[in-house]
Amino acid sequence: MKSSEKVSRDLDLQGRSNRQNELTAKWWSPKGVLRFALPILITGAVLYVPIGSTALRNNGQQTESKTPALDPAAMEALDKMGAYLRTLKSFQVRADVSTDDVLEDGQTIQSNSKVDIVAARPNRLRIEVNADDGHRFFFFDGKNFTIFGQLVNYYATIPAPPTIAQLTEDLSNKYGIELPLLDLFEWGTNDTTIKRIKGAMDVGPSTIDGITCEQYAFHQDNVDWQIWIQLGDFPLPRKLIIRTLTDDAKPQHSEMLYWNLAPSFSDDAFTFEPPADARRITLADLEAQSKKENK
């Protein structure tokens, strides 16, 4: 089978090169160029439009006929995981995170970071992010929020709202800060996140880092995402992949999650004690700035 394929390919190549040899005698003369270029251009122009439009039409039909199915098992697993996460009074999760950035021409560039979160509900948080582009810390002790950039040795502290949920909202809307692994704090808190899901499927069992999980895939308006949930009595998310659909390059974000459900910490852990040489700066209120700009 393989040899016959090879033979036929060889034959074909020879045939082509023979023909080319005949043609090269005159191909570069103006007449010759015209003789070959014109038919190609004309057929190209004639074929291009219909092919392009049918391709578009086919795509349109495909997306229309794609009926969003919500597999009840997948939705139930998500509910169960959310409810379980809400029972955790405190936890530590370490994560290997990668995120695609997209260049102007559509090429994606991946950046990586290691994240370490210690959370004590409802109002204490300590996050360390060691990324390609910096090493930063976030502290929330129920009263103040601090961001500390170790490389610049700057920190900024602002009075904070009373809960983690309100804090993440404020940081995102006013200050342009998205805390990492935010979904861990969203699941199981409200129905709106569930209602956004347009498609859900149970992919099947999958082993992540030696732990047997069930893999699920979900579709929403702007993102497709997959989650690996540990099987058994501790339905923890072990892996999460989010694919952004609003950019043609479909950049991807992924998190590998490593859990510690019995973290040891003192209350001081959540309050920022500036190193002697660290300098305080401000945290820009970007929302206020953009409002001012729009006036």
Binding site: W28, S29, P30, V97, T99, D100, D101, V102, L103, E104, D105, Q107, I109, S111, D132, D133, G134, R136, I147, G149, L151, V152, N153, Y154, A156, T168, S172, N173, Y175, G176, I177, E178, P180, L181, L182, D183, E186, T192, R196, Q220, N222, V223, W225, I242, T244, D247, P251, Q252, H253, R279, R280, I281, T282, L283, A284, L286, Q289, S290, K292, E293
Partner: protein, 144 residues
């Protein structure tokens, strides 16, 4: 002879076409966007615009001894914050007050005024700030 000329025209035309088709000229690539980092909580913030890709460039240029210059956060700044710079009034300093930069010259010194750090670079004063998780420097009037 005439045949040679014809050949010359055809070949030079092909060369021109090849040059035209060989794509955009080499220039620094910039970011146009980024992946969502969570499912439901997407901040209305456009990261990454107008910043060169190469991390090494950023580090080498900006990692100054005084700690004021390191371009922390690498890739990202907030376009809104930059746009806001345009409205500021100009005074007689080396740089326009209100304009925002990602690094300051290496010769600057850190000065603390009312507990906040400033970078003084000759007659120009910069106030460092976190814009999102990125450090930017706003040109300000002398704080004292």
């Amino acid at each position: 002879m005439r045949r040679d000329m014809n050949r010359f025209y055809v070949i030079s035309a092909l060369v021109v076409i090849v040059i035209l088709l060989s794509g955009p000229t080499l220039s620094a690539q910039r970011y146009r966007g980024s992946a969502h980092t969570n499912i439901n909580h997407s901040a209305n913030i456009n990261r990454n615009t107008n910043i060169n890709v190469n991390r090494n460039v950023n580090v080498n240029v900006n990692n100054s001894y005084h700690g004021g210059g390191y371009y922390y956060g690498g890739c990202c700044y907030h376009p809104v914050a930059v746009a806001a710079a345009v409205t500021a009034t100009a005074v007689v300093t080396a740089a326009v007050v209100g304009s925002i930069v990602h690094s300051v010259p290496p010769s600057c010194t850190t000065v603390i005024v009312n507990g906040l750090a400033y970078q003084q670079c000759g007659n120009t004063w910069y106030q460092p700030q976190f814009a999102g998780t990125t450090t930017t420097y706003v040109v300000v009037n002398p704080p004292r």
